[in-house]
């Protein structure tokens, strides 16, 4: 029996369209749009000016804040403008650097392989990771250098490499594990070294046998790293649920993985770390899956950060039928887009295009109290009550029912026969609760001053 967590849903995976397609480099884009906010944390300040010539890997944005990650030019050329442009995840226009390609793809002089990380001081390793602009590539885009610097009093004993890829449709992590397993393990070892962790776990769902084989080979005889095969179930790739499945530990409400001595990174992130040392190239490209019923030729593509969705759709041969919904990421947690004029950012794991005839706009109907949402909630919440409170503006009640613990996995909304917009309601409650807390904290500060 493969390991897993209580709750969750067995979703159809729809991975066959792209799982056997080797990662392909895309044509060099003519123009990239690089938002200065691509991560959780403080946005970057631009380091370049309009008209300036930049090269691949050159730093174009940085911030002095601790929770942030620098941003680099992904093509060589001229900065055409720095202006607020539509962002695929933040739902508003965000300051972005637009670079017009010179076609040369010239690499910045500063880019060179880094010395052996295991001979470095762990703090130095962390600063290489920060300078490379690496963030969690699983979707949340949390700066990796911050993640691997937990408070001093937290003892970390396990590092989990997340290769679960439980979101339907997405296959980019799968392909990375099949094609670049050695870099993934090297990256994991670097991350373990930087955090002083001795035990590593590579976690893969049992629906990816090729990836399991490849990673097993790459681990070889290293007894510090263990391969864990997990049951294929959504949301197996959530940090908290991986930790529960692999280590049997429960992250407390409001806590983080380091509270139970664990750290989790995505395979893509580990490979980006490996690249930052092996070639010295910062995070200027990533692998994404382009798939869905309206995509003629599903593919796994290595694209430059900042490439517009429209260029990528063109690259895979356009739409095979009229698109009904374009989603950045997977169908469960992805963000629907209304324009193809948005760029791939560090957190883009895929582009999913559903055909128009696949989308139906039915419901919502009144809750029938079937409690299916309760059965599947991996956080043991009561989504029906959270939804009902949130829709009535009773945010304090939603807070008492642990709205903030919701990981927004979407399992509840997926199974709801009445098609209640549960996740939207819970998100609204969460943002209202957080806004209230911020206001309270602010007034407390003001009262002290």
């Amino acid at each position: 029996m493969n390991l897993t967590f209580p709750g969750g849903v067995h979703v159809p995976y729809y991975k066959s369209g792209s799982k056997d397609k080797a990662i392909r480099k895309t044509r060099l884009p003519q123009r990239v749009v690089i938002p200065l906010s691509q991560h959780t944390g403080a946005p970057c300040e631009p380091l370049v000016e309009k008209g300036q010539v930049v090269k691949v890997g050159q730093k174009i944005g940085d911030s002095s804040a601790f929770v942030s990650a620098p941003i680099h030019a992904s093509i060589s050329g001229k900065v055409a403008s720095i202006e607020p442009l539509q962002h695929p995840a933040l739902g508003k226009k965000v300051m972005s650097v637009v670079i017009e390609s010179d076609g040369g793809d010239e690499v910045a002089e500063t880019i060179a392989p880094k010395p052996d990380p295991f001979a470095m001081d762990p703090e130095e390793v962390k600063s290489v990771i920060r300078e490379a602009g690496i963030v969690g590539l699983g979707g949340a885009a949390f700066p990796t250098s911050v993640k691997i610097s937990p408070p001093k009093d937290k003892k970390i004993d396990s590092y989990i490499l997340n290769g679960a890829e439980c979101e339907p449709y997405l296959t980019s992590d799968h392909r990375l594990m099949v094609e670049r397993p050695r870099e993934a393990i090297f990256g994991l070892k670097v991350l373990m070294y930087a955090t002083g962790v001795k035990r590593g776990y590579v976690c893969i769902e049992d629906n990816k046998p090729e990836a399991i084989d490849a990673m097993k080979k790459a681990i070889g005889s290293d007894s510090n790293i263990k391969l864990v095969v997990l049951e294929s179930k959504y949301p197996q790739g959530s940090e908290k649920h991986l930790i529960k499945a692999v280590l049997g530990r429960e992250v407390p409400s409001g806590g983080l993985p380091f509270d139970v001595g664990a750290m989790v990174s995505n395979v893509g992130t580990a490979i980006a770390v490996a690249d930052a040392f092996i070639t010295g190239m910062p995070l200027v490209q990533r692998v994404i899956t382009v798939t869905g019923s309206a995509i003629a030729n599903p593919a796994n593509l290595e694209v430059r950060i900042g490439t517009l969705f429209s260029d990528i759709i063109e690259e895979v041969g356009g739409f095979s039928s009229p698109p009904g919904k374009v989603i950045m990421g997977g169908p469960m947690m992805g963000i629907a887009q209304w324009s193809l004029d948005v760029p791939v950012i560090k957190g883009t794991s895929g582009i999913l295009v559903m055909a128009q005839n696949e989308i139906d706009m039915v419901g919502p109907f009144p809750c029938v109290r079937c409690a299916r949402c309760v059965d599947v909630c991996p956080m043991n919440l009561l989504p029906l009550f959270l939804g009902a409170y949130a829709e009535r503006g009773l945010y304090a009640d939603a807070e008492a029912y642990r709205a903030l613990d919701c990981i927004e996995c979407g399992s509840c909304a997926y199974v709801c026969p009445a098609r209640r917009p549960l996740v939207q309601a819970i998100r609204t409650a969460k943002s209202e609760i957080m806004a209230k807390r911020r206001a309270k904290a602010q007034s407390a500060v003001a009262a002290k001053a």
């Binding site: 995840a89 629907a336 943002s431």
Partner: protein, 281 residues
């Protein structure tokens, strides 16, 4: 029979005596001022003062020293009466205000970017994940009426074009709607002033023009038209300094997108003719 009457009478007397004693012994002085202030307050229990009800505000004024001018509904008149009761300086006579929605981009003027299917609430629709709502204009009114539902005085209703309208006679300037609107479109403006810029779009002109027919395009025609220099452009939106505005109406005439308007308009009292405005523009 007799004994029953006697026992009843005696125990009645005894309990009466105990009650009389207790009433003296445990007497809690109730400040009459609380009652007086409660009677001065409008009794709307709108909680715009930050207290749960009019009574709890009255109590807070007397026992916790809450400010005497917190009742937005009662305004300066009630504040000065409360100040009288409390024996403090009467507060400044603040100008009467009224709510105004700083957007007229209804269905006929402002196109949608996508088909929205979800909760009919502006807060829920304006989540970042939903790109701030289905309006192409990032700043505009979503029209789900969260403000209308928040008004304790029934002073707002949804206009025919999908933008809320304030009933100026009923509005008490309590400010509840100002808090409710996630797009921060509602402002309390001086009741005596009739000319307002009803747009909040901070995009540059060409972009603003694309997302809404009645958007301020920051062309500056109003700034040039104003003889007393009451209008300036801030963040690509015209801003009227109400203390300078003489209500000459020059700017209203010059604005190419008609986003400067004079209230009260016909629509304000009758409703239903809002879409005509879109057609003019």
């Amino acid at each position: 029979m007799i004994s029953a009457v006697v026992i009843l009478a005696l125990s009645g007397l005894a309990f009466g005596a105990i009650l009389a004693f207790a009433a003296r012994k445990f007497f809690v002085p109730v400040d009459e001022r609380i009652e007086t202030i409660r009677n001065l307050l409008p009794g709307a229990n709108c909680s715009a003062c930050g207290h749960a009800s009019c009574s709890s505000y009255a109590e807070a004024v007397v026992s916790k020293g809450a400010p005497v001018d917190a009742c937005k509904v009662g305004g300066a008149a009630v504040a000065s009466k409360i100040a009288g009761v409390m024996g403090v300086e009467a507060v400044l006579d603040e100008e009467a205000k009224v709510a105004e929605v700083m957007c007229r981009g209804g269905r006929s003027a402002a196109p949608h970017s996508y088909e929205y299917m979800g909760i009919s609430d502006c807060k829920a629709a304006s989540l970042p994940m939903l790109h701030g709502g289905p309006k192409m204009c990032e700043y505009g009114c979503l029209g789900f009426g969260t403000c209308v539902r928040s008004c304790p005085f029934d002073a707002m209703y949804m206009g025919d074009d999908g933008v809320p309208v304030v009933d100026r006679d009923a509005c008490t300037a309590c400010g509840k709607c100002v808090e409710a609107c996630p797009k921060h479109l509602i402002r309390l403006v001086p009741r005596s002033k009739k000319i307002h810029v009803v747009c909040s779009n901070r995009d540059r002109g060409p972009v603003a023009r694309k997302v809404c027919k009645v958007a301020c395009i920051a062309c500056g025609a109003c700034v040039r038209a104003c003889k007393v220099g009451a209008i300036s452009l801030r963040d690509n939106v015209a801003l009227i300094d109400y203390s300078k505005c003489t209500e000459c109406g020059e700017c209203v005439a010059k604005c190419p997108t008609k986003c400067i308007i004079e209230v009260p308009r016909v629509e304000d009292t009758k409703g239903g003719t809002q879409s005509a405005q879109g057609e003019v523009a």
